[in-house]
């Protein structure tokens, strides 16, 4: 048997907390760091939309005159891209695409963040409860989650959103786009919580058999204390990885539903709405379709890359 040789690297690791180790791993992943910066950039643009549009001297509701030709197409190459209108002009109407997309991304991020965190919260709560206490409730929740899987989720969202939006508006909780966003988020969460619930449940079931949980039980700790102090800290990495990999999915889902006419409606704008409008102009003004496409893909791609990097940093064995 060879003696255990502590290399410089292992010695370094020995003195660090798990958080520092993960952070160090993340920093070494160049693609991940780049994706992180890109994500921050897109998020900052979205949050600072009012400031940025003002700096460029544009906004998302002014109909600019003199930018469209006699066929209602943007003047100039690439869909009217110019210094005044960096991403071109909306054909037919004459609004600024840059401002439309900046404000649209606010809605996309809003829907994605609320849906992700609501799914995570519900999945975490139910997953821990059923995984820790087991029993009949666990069995019936599991059946229900399986049952939900058999429904055609995408189609149900489309078929039910119109009547449900009407019902929400009738109660007076929210109106117009607020009501549509609310209904969309509720649906996305309703069909989306099961994935994280399964993950948390199985992890909780294996954690509760571990020695440190048994030790806590032997010392007479309450279930509440065990869940909060012993289980939750061990579940955070899973939650962070799941959040970072869910966000791009929800961004894409929001775009898809608004493309299909479910969700936010004009005069508001999201990527999906702009793209569904752009389909009508693809031959005469392909830039109006390609520019939003490229930006949406860049956002989803950088979020995905960031998610992969976070997963690699927190759980180097998973998926690699």
């Amino acid at each position: 048997m060879a003696d255990v040789v502590l290399t410089e690297e292992t010695q370094e690791i020995a003195q660090r907390t798990p958080k520092q180790i993960a952070w160090g791993r993340f920093k070494r992943n160049k693609v991940g760091v780049f994706a992180g910066y890109a994500t921050l950039f897109f998020l900052a643009c979205s949050i600072l939309a009012p400031l940025i549009t003002r700096a460029f001297g544009v906004d998302n509701h002014t109909i600019y005159s003199g930018v469209l030709n006699e066929f209602a197409m943007p003047k100039g190459a690439w869909g009217g891209v110019s210094w005044q209108h960096p991403l071109g002009i909306e054909p037919g109407v004459g609004r600024d695409v840059f401002a439309l997309l900046l404000y649209g991304s606010q809605l996309s991020f809003l829907v994605a963040f609320i849906s992700t965190f609501a799914s995570i919260a519900i999945g975490m709560l139910i997953g821990i409860a059923t995984g820790y206490f087991k029993g009949k409730v666990d069995a019936s929740v599991g059946r229900f989650a399986d049952f939900l899987l058999s429904f055609p989720g995408t189609f149900m969202i489309i078929a039910l959103s119109l009547p449900l939006v009407q019902r929400v508006e009738a109660t007076g909780i929210a109106h117009d786009n607020a009501a549509r966003i609310l209904v969309l988020v509720i649906f996305l969460v309703f069909f989306g919580w099961t994935g994280f619930y399964r993950l948390v449940r199985s992890q909780t079931m294996s954690l509760r058999e571990r020695d440190f949980v048994m030790a806590a039980q032997a010392m007479g700790a309450s279930s509440w204390r065990i869940i909060v102090k012993e289980l939750l800290p061990n579940l955070w990495p899973t939650a962070i990885v799941f959040i970072s990999l869910s966000l791009p999915g929800y961004i894409a889902a929001e775009a898809t539903f608004s493309f299909l006419g479910v969700g936010v409606q004009a005069p508001a704008s999201t990527f999906g709405l702009v793209l569904s409008d752009a389909v009508g102009y693809w031959r005469d003004d392909p830039a109006y379709l390609l520019i939003p496409c490229t930006i949406l893909i860049a956002i989803v791609l950088s979020l995905n890359l960031l998610g992969d990097a976070i997963r690699d940093a927190l759980d180097p064995k998973a998926g690699r």
Binding site: L149, A255, T256
Partner: protein, 334 residues
Amino acid sequence: MLKYLARRLSATLLVITLVSMSVFGIFAVLPMDPAALTCGKACSAPVIEANRHRLGLDVPVTVQYGRFVKGLFVGRDFGEGAAKFHCPAPAFGYSYNRHECVTTLVAEAFPVTLSLAVGAFVLWLSVGVSLGILAARKRNEWQDRAATAFVLVGTSLPTFISGLLILLFVALKFNLINPIEMGRWVSPLEDPVAWFRTFIFPWIVLALLYAATYTRFTRSNVIETSSEDYIRTARAKGLNERDILRKHTLRAALAPIVTLAGLDFAGLLGGAIITEGIFNLPGLGRLSIRAVLRDYDLPTILATTILAAVFVVVANLLVDILYAYIDPRVRVAS
């Protein structure tokens, strides 16, 4: 095994009943009134009431469900007197907007969706699995990196974007498809060339999404299985790499793909809403989406929703049986 089959079969029937009941219930409690949508703006209350009776919506939802189930087995008459219309079993309902039995509409749309699903399935399974195996074998080499890039692109592109880009900037731009041909069902037995031309781009769009998932799944499964002791044993006793891969690694690594593939395929059979919509294919997805967006044609919506759910439930059963066949541990454990 027989006992296992019987139990799974009865559980499946129960789930199908529950699914159809919940779909009925959900659409019944909604404030959408299909009767009010049957006539235009000049509608009066008596006309709406008459239409409600004609549609069979003037009775409690439990009675409606009973009639629906009965119609599935013995057929059903819709309307009264001269306007009476008979739909033979299995009758899913009668679409007053299209003046057709829903079963006829579904039967017309199903071959399209089936063609779409089968072709995409073959494409994504062959591409995804072989790319996954290649990536696992050439780990950390350029093939692996290329596969990772493919996975990233495939999972990051929403279907409607890849669909639009391929339809507009490849298929239509270079006149590779005939847009009018796309809207009609062409049987592969009548005109295989037209059939292939119609479906090749939708296949690619769907396969792009699924193949990426399968590549990632296969790759990680093959890598995980390769580090098992019995693989080392096989290598130690001098088996060549090809046999190890074929007889030992892949057998274990690909078994879970049966489950995944079965459920994904069944999910597609219910209609690929986005792909069918973008390519204007007259399949179940387009049928159901039009039923919602055009006139809220409730009988069609109910039928397609229930059918889509039934496909998934039945696929679940088949996959479980197949899995019990592949992996004896499942039989013992149950």
